[in-house]
Assembly symmetry: C2
Homo-oligomer: 155 residues x 2
């Protein structure tokens, strides 16, 4: 994909778990709770309607406070690509102040593993910087560590 | 659909042209030029890639100045429903300051005509008001008049 270095953040990692399993983790509410936010933060609820325009709603618990994050899927290519955003809630209701559009791309990796690419696209240079300063690379990196460990525990 | 009166503008009209023909007008660049902006404004170019995430780009000529409007389709139900927005350009690139998400809904009307519903959803009460003050009802109403007249000329 054509990334814009001014507004997009991304990284690629080699994971030992297969694509099919990582996809299942990413698209199943019960699995999401095991990796989607860096511990000790928690996911206290997750609702998924896996279709374009369907909801991807999560509630985080961060330092005792609950934060609802409502979004929708924009693109779903089975076991290959997931695009979602907080720019809409279900029914294409625009959010007042959307933060990002996320891509998770799964490609065949070495030895039955996965080449895993995560991208966060933002509306402006400022929101990209905010996300970077919030610790995008550390945070999303930790999520990937948790995902890999959890996925391998399911094998 | 569940409208939000604070952020959404909409109207429904009975049109004499059949759904299939109105759909063709809405999804063909050559046809778009004949109705999409109130005359004497003009469409000087239109690009359509009719798939979810595909481009719907138009360039208006208003009082001699050209205005590019780039967007994408969010939902396409053949001859029934078209949802598009300026919140993204092709490739799910978020727009810095999206204005609206538009729905055009085509249902069977009386005597072979169409019950035509147009909806503009906004991110905030303020942008809904701005659109209303810009003349949403007059402007989109004129577009429907032009669409009906043009579609009937194709029969």
């Amino acid at each position: 994909m054509n990334l814009d270095p001014e507004t997009d953040l991304s990284f690629t990692r080699q994971l030992k778990a297969p694509r099919a399993l990582l996809w299942e983790c990413w698209t199943t509410p019960e699995h999401i709770k095991h990796f989607f936010v860096p511990r000790p933060h928690k996911i206290v609820s997750c609702e998924i309607d896996l279709r374009v325009g369907g909801k991807f709603n999560t509630t985080f618990e961060v330092d005792g406070a609950e934060m609802a994050n409502n979004g929708v899927y924009l693109e779903i290519i089975d076991q290959k690509k997931l695009v979602f955003t907080d720019a809409y809630s279900e029914g294409w209701k625009p959010a007042p102040d959307p933060f990002m559009t996320a891509f998770v791309i799964f490609e065949d990796g070495e030895d039955g593993g996965t080449t895993y690419t995560a991208v966060a696209r933002h509306r402006s240079i400022e929101s990209r910087k905010t996300h970077e300063d919030m610790g995008f690379f550390d945070g999303w990196g930790t999520v990937v560590d948790q995902l890999e460990e959890y996925a391998l525990s399911l094998k």
